[in-house]
Each structure stands twice: as C-alpha cells, then as structure tokens.
C-alpha cells in the first residue's frame, strides 16, 4: 500500500515559493522614505533647468532661486500617481519585461569609455563595431533580457555617439533597449528610430520597447540635461529610468541609511517632474548606489556595500510600488580574473534575491570605466545559476517522493527511477562551468573558465545571426541617423 496524503486538508500552511531576502522591513522603508521627504521639504534640491523650475513652481513647490523645496503631499501624490507596473516589449511588439512585483531581469550597462576586445584582449576605445558585437552577444545570451550600449562609441561624430549606438543595437538584436542620450535632440532621434521599428509613435507608446535613461548629480543636484530628459520622456509618454549615482562617503554620508535617504530623495525629484508633466507616466527608480573607495576615490562596483545598498534601495522602491533599476554583475577588476568572478557573482545573487526588476551593468569592469563582453557571457552563466536558486524548493507530495523512497529502500539508487527521470532536468545544468572529471577536462584541453568564456564570446560574435529587420525599416533608421548628422554639422 502506498502512502497517500491526499486525504487531508490543512490550515495556516505557509509556503516560501522563492528564497526570501528583505533587506529592510516595511517600518524601516517608511523611515527611509520619511527621511527623504524631510530632506526634500527642508533642504530641497538644486535644479538647473528653467523649464523644470517652472513645472515645480506650478506644481506647488517652494522655489527659491535654484533651490526647490517639495511639500511632502506632492511627493506622496507623485508616488501614487506613477504606475506600479510597466510592461516593456521586445522589438517585435511581444510583451516581455513585466516590471512589476519582484520580477527580475538582468542586462548589461552603458557608456564605458573603454572596452576589452574579446579577440585581442586589448583595452581600447569603443567603436561602433563594438556595439554591434555587444548587441549580438546580448541577442544570443538567454539570461540577458535587454540591451544597453556597452560603451560610448568614439569613431563617429562625438555628439551622436548615442544615436549611432542605438542604430547598432536596433540592427543586431530584437531585445528591449535601455538607452541614454546627450540631450533632447538625440532623445528625439532615438524615439523616432524606435517608432520606425514599432510601427509608429503611438504603437511605441502603447507597447514601448525602449526605456530612456537619465542620471542626476547627487547630492540633491539636478542638471538641466538630467531633469529635462525626465520631462521629455513624460511629454512623449515613454518610460524613463532616472538614476542618481549615490556613493556613501562621497556624495552622501558614510552610513548606509543616509546614503539610501539621498538616493531616494534624488529619485523622487525626477519622479515628481515626470508626474507633473503627465500623470501616470512610466518611471523606473534608479539605480547605482555604492561606496567611494577611500584610498583610490573610485565609485566601487565590487563593494559589499553595492549589494547591501542596492538591496536596501530596492526594498524602498518596492515599498513605494515603483519599479526598480538596480545593479549587479559588475566588478572593479581590470582583467578577466577571479576578482571579476566573485564580485560579479555576489552582486548578481544579492540583486536577484532583493527582487529588483532591472539589474544592469552585467558587463562593467574596472569600476565602470571599461566594458567586457566576456564578463557579460560569464554573467549569463552566473545569472542562470542564480535563477535556479531563485526557484526555491518545492515541497508537496510529488516533490517529497515518499513512495519512491519506500520503493527503492535502503542502499538502493534513484538513477533509474521514473521519478528521477521526471525531475532531474530541474537541476540547473551549466554550459561554462566545468564539471567534467579530471581526465575529461584534460582531454578537452585543460581550459580555464576565462578561456571558455572567451571562446563562447568569440563564437557568438562570429556565428550568431540575429533575426534581421526588414530593409525598409533599416533604410528609415539610416535616414534618421543622416538627419542627425546634418543637424550636428550645422551646429558646428
């Protein structure tokens, strides 16, 4: 007779469907948020845009020169007004990124001034062809969910680096794109190009596959470029990632809580601007939050505090029900080495456990100065492993398998059981991590992780064929690039 548990019902039975990490309790989140509200009401923020000052004034803020002080009720209104969920499509219009709840998606990072060539190993200036390569690798890697440019391309008209990088991405991947721009002109170029792909501006607004990206200058300081982009995105009804780069000890106090207060306050400034322009416009809270290394003065991309603070900020974003753009898969290391692997793995795991919606910078080496497609390839593997951990442990009759345990009995093995057959594929199987026996590993050339990562990256670049876009779409995109070139030439 087999053991069956189907004869009873249960009460008050709780399940952890996934692992649990909550860096801050709701009370602590409220405390941080109240801190940010107090800072914005008492200290205020410095705003360097006339248009933004006008919008804030009309919206009920106290404007004193460049300093804007925000009444708490206005911010609370903006928090409620912003959507708690934003759905981002791929370039074929299929809804793919559900930025809601604690859904987690990983992707690379933007605007590095150097890149490591995956063929020569040389650290050099990024070219447009590097963003082509990056887009191919992004397109091929299953755990990379969206594209960023992986470096500011420097072999094109300097003020159109953003536009050219966007073209390179459109031509080589169909995944969603998060992209930056020098200014409003370039933002317009980018939206126009995206509209061509989406089949019109309205289609793009209804089903966006892009998120615009803007960075303020903490503490509590917002350049015209940064805040005007938030306003532009809201006017055009395209969601924006507004991300202050807050680092403890430098542009924030050296304590974690205070650094979170500054980061939340600076995000809220962008949020309020967007909501005042268009109630309900899509807003994703950033972003980069870590410590300043007190010896080298770098903003660390590998610090323990990067993970600690990012998970804290994610908790506050979740408390406010605003989608979160976090950081992981990055390193301060200069080369493909062990430091890279461990810093990337820790930050990917903690960011994943924290439930941040978009986790970027899975390509950042050297405290963000250099991009590496090899790191992205390795991160893809780490993300696979982390996703398995995030699946948690299922506990039910089928997964407890008491009948199977009884059938096999003491001293037996489970390798040939139907139950094993039905479930062993739930094990995460690696593609880069080597688990061969020694002889097998030796027979395959005794390769290190770094070598395998390099080979896989090169193989993708050489052989991956992204699904091409129709010729007329490519021509229209080129026409927009040409238009931008003509405009910039006129400015000279």
């Amino acid at each position: 007779m087999t053991l069956s548990k189907s004869q009873y019902v249960r009460a008050n039975y709780q399940v952890n469907a996934t692992p649990q990490l909550k860096m801050l309790s709701d009370d602590q989140c409220e405390n941080i948020l109240n801190g940010a509200l107090e800072v914005l009401e008492r200290t205020g923020a410095e705003i360097h845009s006339e248009e933004a000052l006008e919008i804030f004034k009309k919206g009920g803020c106290w404007v004193d020169g460049n300093i804007v002080r925000f009444p708490s009720h206005l911010i609370e209104w903006a928090i409620r007004s912003a959507p708690s969920r934003i759905v981002i499509s791929n370039q074929k219009g299929e809804r793919t990124l559900f930025l809601e709840g604690q859904n987690v998606y990983y992707g690379p990072g933007p605007t590095n001034t150097y890149t490591i060539d995956p063929f020569t190993g040389e650290r050099r200036r990024p070219r447009k062809s590097d963003t082509v390569r990056a887009a191919k690798v992004i397109d091929a890697l299953p755990n990379i969910s969206y594209a960023m440019d992986c470096g500011t391309v420097m072999d094109v008209t300097p003020t159109l680096s953003d536009v050219h990088a966007f073209q390179a991405m459109l031509e080589n991947t169909n995944k969603p794109i998060i992209h930056w721009g020098f200014g409003i002109d370039q933002y317009q170029d980018i939206i126009d190009m995206a509209a061509v792909v989406a089949g019109g501006l309205e289609a793009l607004q209804k089903n966006p596959f892009i998120l615009l990206y803007s960075e303020s200058s903490p503490p509590l300081r917002h350049s015209a470029e940064a805040i005007d982009k938030a306003i532009f995105a809201a006017k055009n009804n395209i969601p924006i990632v507004y991300t202050p780069c807050t680092f403890a000890g430098g542009v924030a106090p050296a304590t974690m809580a205070a650094t979170l207060v500054i980061a939340v306050a600076d995000s809220l400034v962008g949020l309020v601007a967007g909501q005042l322009v268009r109630k309900g416009s899509g807003f994703v809270m950033g972003g980069l939050i870590s410590t300043m290394d007190m010896s080298s003065t770098i903003l660390s991309y590998g610090a323990a505090e990067l993970s600690l603070l990012s998970a804290g900020l994610t908790a506050v974003a979740r408390y406010m029900k605003i989608p979160m753009f976090s950081t992981g898969g990055c390193t301060d290391s200069k080369v493909i080495d062990t430091q890279m692997g461990l810093e990337a793995a820790f930050s990917i795991l903690v960011a994943g456990l924290s439930g941040a919606n978009l986790i970027h910078d899975c390509s950042y080496m050297e405290y963000g100065a250099t991009s590496s497609l090899e790191l992205m390839t390795m991160d893809d593997e780490i993300i696979g492993m982390v996703k398995r951990i995030l699946e948690g442990v299922k506990v039910d009759d089928e997964h407890l398998a008491l009948d199977v345990i009884n059938k096999v009995g003491p001293g037996g093995h489970y390798l040939a059981e139907d139950h094993t057959m039905a479930h062993f594929r739930e094990f995460w199987s690696s593609s880069l991590i080597n688990r061969l026996r020694y002889d097998g590993w030796k027979a395959e050339g005794s390769k290190t992780m770094g070598q395998r990562v390099k080979e896989k990256t090169q193989d993708i670049i050489n052989n991956h064929k992204p699904e091409p876009k129709p010729d007329h779409v490519l021509r229209e995109i080129q026409a927009i690039v040409d238009r931008a070139e003509a405009r910039e030439a006129n400015k000279q």
């Binding site: 001293g411 390798l415 040939a416 059981e417 094993t420 057959m421 062993f424 026996r437 020694y438 002889d439």
Partner: protein
C-alpha cells in the same frame, strides 16, 4: 523488416520500455531471427545512446531508461535462442571490493556494459578476493572489474590481483578498476590492466582490452 528495427532502435534511444516490448514482440511474431532482432534492433539503439552520453547530449537517468528498455527487449528474445548463440561481446565479472557497500557506480557500469553487449556477472558489494577468484574460475570472464568509493577500501583491489597471481590466473583475465578515488596512477601501482574514469568509458576500455 528493417523499418521495424529502425523504430525499435529509436524506442531504445528514447527509453520507451513498453514500445520496445511491443515492437520486439511484433518482430518475434513475424518470425524474425531473434539474433537479428538483437543485432539490428536493440544493440544499434544502445550504441547511439552510448555515443550521445559520451558527447554530453544524454544524461545518466536517460541512459538508464534506455538500458532498462533494452533489457526488457532482451528478456523477450533470449528464451528463443540457445545461450551460446546469444550475441555477446564478452564476459565481465564485476563487484565492489571488500568493506565497501557502494554499488551505484558499479551497477551503472554493469548496465552500460550489458547495453554494449557484454555478459555481466555481478558479484555484488563487499566482495573479497576469494569471491572474485571464485567467479573467475566459474565463469572464465575476459575481464574483471573492481569498484571502490572509499580511499580506505581501494587498497583491497591489490589483494584480488595478488590472489589471482598466486592462483596462476592473472594472465587469463584483464583487471580493470574504477571509482571516485581511483586514478590511472593507482591502476599502474597495483598492476591493474586499466582504469575507467566513468561508466561510459568502461565499455570502451573492455573493448580495447579484449581486442
């Protein structure tokens, strides 16, 4: 009926025990030569499985499902053939050494060998030198395979080899060893003929040694 054999092979590869049984039964009912059923239907399927496992396209539980299906087919065909006519690649005596109760690895090797066409005599776990000696005398295998999981029990392998020498049987049988702590160096040290790092390569090793 070559089409049936093709399908039989496919059913072995996909590990469909019931399908293998019914196809084998059909072939028998149609009056096929039982040896053909084995050589053209069952074994070719298992050869593909072995190759796929080696190249990482199939996993252990899938291989065992195939082996189980193959065995079910064999059980139907075997009674129809004189035992000396049953195709066999050779005889292998296999066991886990004295003091060691681990048999997953040994059984895995055993199934892989059987699937590759070997006749396997399994002497079980905790098998001392005398047990191996007895099996060698009784079955006259081409190969004996010893397994050990523990560093504390692997030394017992040498005792079996020494006993075979004393009995003057060492030249009549090839000795292969395997298990987590075993290496080629250890095989050389104790005078074994071969070492298989995993279940997949044990069949290849036997083939090489018996060639």
């Amino acid at each position: 009926m070559p089409n049936n054999y093709e399908e039989l092979s496919q059913s072995i590869i996909s590990g469909q025990l019931d399908r293998v049984k019914s196809l084998t039964q059909q072939a028998i009912g149609a009056g096929d030569n039982p040896v053909d059923i084995i050589n053209q239907g069952l074994i070719p399927g298992m050869s593909v499985v072995g190759a796929r496992f080696k190249s990482g396209q199939m996993y252990v539980p899938e291989v065992l499902m195939s082996a189980r299906a193959m065995d079910a087919g064999m059980q139907l065909v075997k009674p129809l053939i004189l035992s000396e006519d049953i195709p066999s690649a050779g005889k292998v005596v296999i066991g886990t050494v004295k003091g060691d109760l681990h048999d997953i690895g040994k059984n895995l090797v055993s199934m892989m060998l059987e699937s590759a066409g070997y006749t396997v005599i399994n002497v079980g776990v905790d098998a001392g030198p005398e047990k191996f000696l007895h099996a060698v005398k009784e079955h006259q295998p081409g190969v004996i395979g010893m397994s050990a999981l523990l560093t504390t029990t692997m030394l017992a392998m040498k005792d079996t080899i020494e006993l075979l020498k004393e009995e003057g049987l060492r030249d009549r049988v090839k000795v292969i060893i395997g298990g987590a702590p075993i290496s080629q160096d250890f095989a050389d040290e104790i005078g074994a003929d071969g070492f298989a790092p995993d279940a997949g390569s044990a069949a290849d090793l036997c083939k090489k040694l018996l060639a």
